[in-house]
């Protein structure tokens, strides 16, 4: 039984770490801040969620219902999208350049029209 749990925990940890590392690679490799946000916002979060599940399982197997870990997972879920949004939006509003491969930018319109409105 313990062995079984250990395997599950280990697998969860390995998956989690894998995602985390990939996300880190992504953050280094990807070309603009918006793309990197993808790596950070998803992979890192997911990776850590896996690890935390492993932790939860580990303690659950010892008969300890560690709700704080669950809460932490929930929290990561809830906050990751907002964090991504806030970072990318602030980047955009501060004029951080999009990657030159970028094919489309609908957001530009909104800010331009807004500016022209203000100019009038």
């Amino acid at each position: 039984m313990t062995g079984m749990i250990e395997v599950i925990v280990a697998v969860f940890v390995i998956i989690g770490v894998f995602f985390a590392v990939v996300s880190a690679i992504g953050i280094v490799r990807l070309k603009d801040v918006y793309s990197r946000a993808h790596a950070s916002g998803k992979s890192a979060t997911l990776g850590v969620i896996f690890i935390m599940l492993a932790v939860f399982i580990h303690f659950l197997s010892q008969g300890e219902m560690n709700a704080k870990i669950l809460l932490a997972i929930l929290f990561l879920f809830l906050t990751a999208p907002v964090a991504s949004l806030m970072i990318t939006r602030s980047a955009y509003r501060n004029g951080v350049k999009l990657d030159k491969n970028t094919v489309i930018d609908d957001l530009k319109e909104m800010y331009e029209t807004d500016d022209s409105k203000q100019n009038k």
Partner: protein, 143 residues
């Protein structure tokens, strides 16, 4: 000046999150005597929760809701431990002598009451108010 950002999503989320954070912060404050935490940590967590509110809703809406003068809370927070300590003098003990006891309350059972609590509560208030005051003061500063 750029257009105002649309904080709709942030606000929606904040409503949810602060409940968790606030309860957690109070938990940290109260549980400090027996597990990691305490007034200082709890106070900063509460401050974080309130900071989330400020960030999401802006200054004035929050002002209408939280009408405390943080500076006065600091004063009160300081008075709490100061006066808790004095109490022991009146009972003929040394300053800051703490008392604790386990009381049996019907329905609820064994409860531990300790003078360390008002003490830590003072810490909590000071830290909470301090953190908010600093951030708000800087934020309020023009240019």
């Amino acid at each position: 000046m750029m257009k105002k950002p649309n904080n709709m999503m942030l606000q929606t989320l904040a409503r949810l999150i602060i409940l968790v954070v606030l309860s957690f912060s109070i938990y940290l404050m109260l549980a400090g005597h027996n597990s990691p935490g305490g007034g200082f940590i709890g106070g900063l967590m509460t401050a974080s929760a309130i900071l989330i509110l400020y960030l999401s809703f802006g200054l004035n809406p929050i002002k209408k809701v939280i009408r405390f003068d943080y500076i006065k809370i600091i004063g009160i927070g300081l008075l709490l431990p100061g006066i808790t300590g004095l109490v022991s003098i009146f009972f003929g003990f040394s300053y800051l002598k703490q008392f604790f006891g386990y009381f049996h309350i019907p329905l609820i059972g064994e409860v531990e009451l300790t003078t360390a609590l008002p003490f830590d509560l003072g810490v909590y208030f000071v830290v909470l108010a301090s953190a908010l005051t600093i951030i708000l003061t800087i934020a309020e500063d023009d240019k």
